[in-house]
Symmetry: C2
Subunit: 318 residues, 2 copies
């Protein structure tokens, strides 16, 4: 099957794509319309973000399964304390008054992003809000790396998985965005469900080896991602066999040999989440198709330093 | 005289203002409408920027007197090479095709801002463009720290100085923004001219001691700023005597004693340009009214870490 959206994620001889991670988490609050707008304004037109479903089956854009105390403020403006309620147990209307515009700097998570702006009144977007934005004229070049988060409590529940995929696919189809969307997940069973329900959208396989797992203060991939450790495991081959179009390894896991192997198998390779200058330069040197980053401006600048572009139409200054 | 705009720049017991330096130079291209929009979107509603006049007497927003090779790209998309033409020798129409959206990372100046996004098609704004933006509904709380750059070649030319001030004042008055604008300069003669032509706008005195002068890759203050070195020079007193409402010292020059002294003289104190965490914390500890920064998000976060606000209406999370 030909997937037109893959061209937007494919690198080239002097081209490595930049994908804004949750918008641009290093600069603006993650998974907010404000952050997506900033990323797009920077000329970074590929957006990665996370989708979770509410109790009333509204796909919303947020990373963790539970409302995170270090991110979410209540109607009085205070970060949530105590037990973090699960999004799946809440109605969309319960989320509408919450403010996700600012990190609690006392938390481990907040300390990871000391430059992130602090906004008032930033709301958890619905998937339909982002789709509505990019369905507008002027956004035709915007493509979505739509990550679906699998509830660790329901990994064995095929009906729940099918319901999440159905709700997400319906939103993307409703605005005619299937040709601009990649279905992206750590959960291989969920990606199989995506292929089954929406064969017109390619799948992107996120991986992270447990020994390189260091995402302090947020949900871990481990519960839903297969354990791919071991010298005999050939990850690109497994992704290709599973019908993936793109492989998205963690930046500390991936080697030049694997990138080449993935390419030979016809896969695109986008690497997540690459933030430090030395790491960005390293991933550039591997020849990945795309770099997923919290700091899109920084990656743009590292690419330019090596006479590389992030979009076809760009004119490189001499 | 009562200046209503001063309240917007005044700190308080739990309040230190954030002023976006040339917009937010650390994140977005300096002195661009794109950078101003980003800064305002972050909830930082005080904008510092620089004005220079073209040959045909259009006040434009750019820092250096000459078009800077590390910032300005020509119509073909290449950074300017060789001799840098003076803005004062060019017509406004000569500037319209230039792109100031991206730094040359090979230059000393470009290397100072490695996270600055790289844009295509960002133009040198006219002062009237920024005034038109903030004259719109929804921008009533935006205030301008309008720096006028004195041409080092014309410091003795009172008629030239009067002409620049007249052009700038006309633009600010045309959009009814005098009550939201501070006139800001290193050049004390120019500030006297501002007071004479536009007594309704308060003046803000920039200072920088020559031994703390390190603005690599850009025009230096030295030619227009009086030499204020020496243990017998009392800078706040001189500013007060000159009729200043605000004193804006370089962050490496200012002491707690001077801040207290300035306060006692009825001056506000805004400190420039404070970018590193340790420096931000230090200036917070001095009790300045305001911090001028290239990284507004970072300063917001340092303020919150100390339970401080940057705007009156803010609710601090507990």
């Amino acid at each position: 099957m030909h997937y037109p959206q893959l061209a937007a994620f494919a690198g080239g001889s002097d081209l490595i794509r930049v994908i804004g991670h949750r918008g641009a988490r290093g600069v603006m609050p993650e998974n907010t319309m404000e952050g997506f707008a900033f990323t797009l304004d920077c000329g970074v037109r590929l957006l990665e973000f996370d989708v979770v479903m509410t109790r009333d089956e509204v796909p919303v854009i947020t990373h963790n399964h539970s409302l995170t105390g270090s991110i979410v403020r209540d109607g009085a403006g205070n970060w949530l304390r105590g037990a973090e309620p699960k999004v799946a147990d809440l109605a969309w209307s319960d989320l509408a008054a919450l403010d996700v515009g600012g990190l609690d700097g006392r938390s481990d998570y907040g300390q990871r992003f000391p430059d992130q702006a602090f906004l008032y009144g930033a709301r958890i977007p619905r998937l339909s809000d982002l789709c509505a934005l990019i369905a507008q004229p002027g956004y035709e070049d915007v493509h979505l790396m739509l990550e679906i988060k699998s509830d660790p409590a329901k990994l064995q529940d095929g009906a729940a998985r099918a319901a999440v995929v159905a709700a997400v696919v319906a939103e993307v189809r409703a605005l005619g965005l299937t040709e601009r969307t990649l279905m992206h997940s750590f959960d291989w069973a969920l990606l199989a469900e995506c292929k089954s329900q929406a064969p017109e959208m390619p799948t992107s396989f996120l991986t992270q080896l447990p020994d390189n797992d260091a995402d302090l203060g947020e949900d871990h991939a481990a519960p839903s991602c297969p354990d791919l450790t071991g010298s005999t495991v050939n990850v690109p081959e497994l992704v290709a066999e599973a019908g993936g179009s793109l492989w998205c390894p963690y930046y500390l896991d991936v080697t030049a040999e694997q990138v080449a192997q993935a390419r030979a198998l016809g896969l695109l390779v986008a690497v997540w989440t690459v933030n430090e200058q030395a790491d960005i330069d390293h991933i550039i040197s591997l020849g990945a198709d795309a770099i997923v980053t919290d700091y899109p401006g920084r990656v743009q600048r590292r690419l330019l330093a090596q006479n590389l572009r992030w979009a076809e139409q760009q004119v490189l200054p001499a």
